[in-house]
């Protein structure tokens, strides 16, 4: 098997005086050795026969066939036995090289047709140059037995470790207590793994087969199957590295799973993941699914039906109720006639869903119909002030491409006895660090009595219309908009309470004043008004304010009418949005009261 290119062999026979002609040390120097798997050079071997049992010291430089540089190493055997030809025991051994430190014992036996190696290693550490294949403090054993039949090696291997950790890119085995048992054949260059059983601590048992090309060091065909394993272990060891850069790359999971996949000629052929009573929480807080049962098959050649059920969860804080989803998956595309996501007392119905993955990016489109969800439950779930009314809407087409979500058609929120329509909705990178939302809002006939009661603003009776155009939210915070809210045209009761006047005055800050003497204000609890209006052109944090009318010194926010009436003027035209929101928060916080002195 060895092809010797050049061997310089020098044997020194040290002759002890006492025992004439007895050999007590053998030293061998070898210049260079070529083998199919590695090259060896500058080898110095010394066997010392003086003690009770012989010892061996070997220093050499080795270069595996695929590597570029020679790596020096030292091998020592505290007890070196070679009782018969082809049999070598190296007990109390130690192998050291750059990034390798492996105390071990080995029994090696070979004849022309058989080979067996038993290695016990104790707190061994190793790493390749890149650190992508490495082990630390490993204690365990490797057993390999092979026999040659018809020029093909049949072999059986076992590897187990009871202490230490192993990283074999991209897999990390952090828990010891793993047993890998493998049977197969080897006929150069194909290493055929016919039957592998991997018992992995924290996961369970997996079985598999593989064909590995030892010339290219690639696994050409792989088939792996795991039944009823721990989903947490399966996810952290095997699934996470595969989905690391997707939205599923940072999950906390639990439950039970079956998993199998097949790769043929380096191409994925089929995959199946079944989940039983699993929980999945995104550690970035974007989504969560509880008590999930799923059957997720995939096949390169055949269309498959996937089924998924979860009892509860949330998506971007939107609460999700018990849901059954089913879709057909055909190679890299997914279609479903109807997906219903129950949300509180209503549901989001997605129809004509079609999605496809091109070059690792998802593209999809669907129709959307939101059956009425009660605002009371929804606002509570979102941590907003409790609102009355319903949200519902129909969107003819939602598309998602290049990380951008587009909605053609308006959503309508039936709230405060009026409507808020949302149109031209576009969200850039909705699940990213900086989601950017573009939309227009159309508010009609909002009941001010309901609105002011909800936000504890002080009572105002009347109706309100509003238009918010070109609204941009960055990370859900407004940075650009042209908004004008004003009293709805037409006849209706218009009253404003003393407290609301005080709050509007406070809202405007230093530059706002009720046209009434403040002392006079105290005589009346309620005033008549003609119009209320406020506009804001927001650019980054600065809002350029306006009202129902301009005056030489500012603008009118509340225009009075009749007796007793009140007029509120604003003077500050540029207001920091942060300050404004701060004031609104103080005012709407029901525990605090603005006191007019």
């Amino acid at each position: 098997m060895l092809r010797l290119l050049s061997i310089l062999l020098v044997v020194w026979l040290s002759i002890a005086g006492q025992y004439a002609y007895a050999i007590n040390a053998i030293k061998i120097q070898i210049g260079e050795v070529d083998t199919p798997v590695a090259q060896l050079k500058n080898a110095r071997l010394q066997v010392d026969l003086k003690g009770k049992s012989p010892t061996l010291i070997l220093h050499a430089e080795v270069k595996p066939i695929n590597e570029k540089v020679f790596i020096p190493f030292d091998l020592k055997c505290g007890q070196f036995n070679t009782e018969s030809i082809g049999q070598v025991d190296c007990l109390d051994g130690n192998f050291t090289a750059k990034q390798v430190k492996a105390p071990f014992s080995v029994n090696f036996a070979s004849d022309p047709h058989n080979l067996s190696v038993d290695i016990l290693f104790n707190t061994a550490s190793f790493s390749d140059e890149s650190g992508l294949h490495a082990g630390e403090n490993l204690t365990g054993q490797v057993k390999l037995a092979a026999k040659i039949i018809n020029e093909s090696w049949q072999w059986h291997g076992l590897m187990s470790w009871t202490k230490g950790e192993l990283f074999w890119q991209p897999f990390y085995f952090g828990k010891a207590g793993n047993i890998f048992e493998v049977n197969g054949t080897f006929k150069s260059p194909i290493l055929n793994v016919e039957n592998a059983s991997l018992i992995i601590n924290g996961v369970g048992e997996m079985t598999g087969t593989a064909q590995i090309n030892t010339n290219t060091n690639t696994a050409e065909n792989i088939k792996v199957s795991a039944k009823d394993v721990d989903f947490d272990g399966l996810y952290s060891v095997f699934l996470k590295p595969m989905v690391e850069k997707s939205v599923f790359g940072n999950l906390a999971v639990s439950g039970k799973a079956d998993w199998q996949f097949e790769i043929k000629n380096l191409e994925p052929r089929n995959f199946e993941l079944n989940l039983r009573d699993a929980n999945m929480d995104d550690k970035n807080g974007k989504f969560s699914f509880k008590h999930m049962n799923a059957h997720l098959p995939w096949d390169y050649d055949n269309a498959k039906t996937i089924n998924l059920n979860y009892k509860s969860g949330h998506l971007l804080k939107m609460p999700l109720a018990n849901t059954n989803l089913s879709a057909e998956i055909n190679r890299y595309s997914l279609v479903s006639k109807q997906l219903t996501l129950p949300i509180l007392d209503g549901a989001l119905n997605l129809s004509d869903v079609s999605a496809t993955m091109i070059a690792d990016n998802w593209y999809w489109h669907l129709r959307m119909n939101l059956t009425p969800v009660s605002m009371r439950d929804f606002s509570t779930a979102m941590g907003w002030p409790k609102m009355q009314g319903k949200i519902s809407g129909q969107v003819p087409l939602v598309t998602y491409a290049s990380k951008q979500l587009n909605m053609d058609g308006a959503m309508t929120f039936n709230v405060f006895n009026g409507t808020i329509g949302m149109d031209n909705l576009k969200i850039d990178d909705p699940l990213g660090v900086v989601p950017r939302l573009h939309a227009d809002l159309l508010m009609r006939n909002l009941d001010l009595a309901e609105l002011t009661k909800t936000f504890s603003f002080g009572d105002i009776t009347g109706k309100l219309d509003g238009d918010v155009k070109n609204m941009v939210l960055e990370n859900w915070k407004p940075v650009y908009l042209d908004a004008y809210i004003h009293t709805t045209e037409g006849k209706h009761l218009k009253k404003i309470s003393q407290r609301a006047v005080e709050n509007i005055t406070a809202l405007g800050g230093e530059g706002t004043a009720a046209a009434l003497q403040r002392t006079f204000l105290r005589f009346f609890k309620e005033f008549n008004y003609d119009k209320i209006g406020l506009s804001c052109k927001l650019r980054q944090d600065v809002c350029e304010m306006g009202g129902v009318e301009s005056t030489p010194t500012g603008y009118i926010i509340v225009k009075g009418k009749g007796i007793p009436s009140v007029t509120v003027n604003g003077y500050t035209q540029r207001v920091s949005l942060e300050d404004l929101l701060g004031r609104i928060k103080r005012i709407t916080d029901s525990n605090s009261k603005v006191i007019v002195k």
């Binding site: 650190g131 490495a134 990390y172 996470k240 900086v434 939210l473 990370n475 915070k477 940075v479």
Partner: protein, 145 residues
Amino acid sequence: MFIGNIMQKFMISFLLVISLLVNSGLVNAAADLDVNTPAISALKNSMQSRHAQLAAHYASGAIGLTADGLIAVRDATALPLKDRQGINALVAAENNDRNALYKEVAAGNGHPEWQGEVRNIFAGRWIDKAQSGWYFQRDGGWVKK
């Protein structure tokens, strides 16, 4: 001769005015790196929370600061085994945020075309702020601070 003198003076004044304008333009053109928008604060928060995971890896030399304002794996063997699996995704996520930050800071200054300049200034800033013992790239090689 007289006309020549006037022309000369006029030219000098003209050039002075032009140079003043250009210079003032340059002064105005300095990017405000501390501009704040919701996007920038979201990115900074995201990077800050990730820094807890990255700090030990800067210190061990496993990752280093690149000359173009990003980070890169320098020596995976310096990482604890448990961190090797996720390091590429962690570095990629940090670089995504850094690229987005340079874009947002340029946009926050009202000059999206300044992205390259902002990146260069940040690259220098990260290296200046780096603790001693951290690695950064210079002339294509790694240097220990």
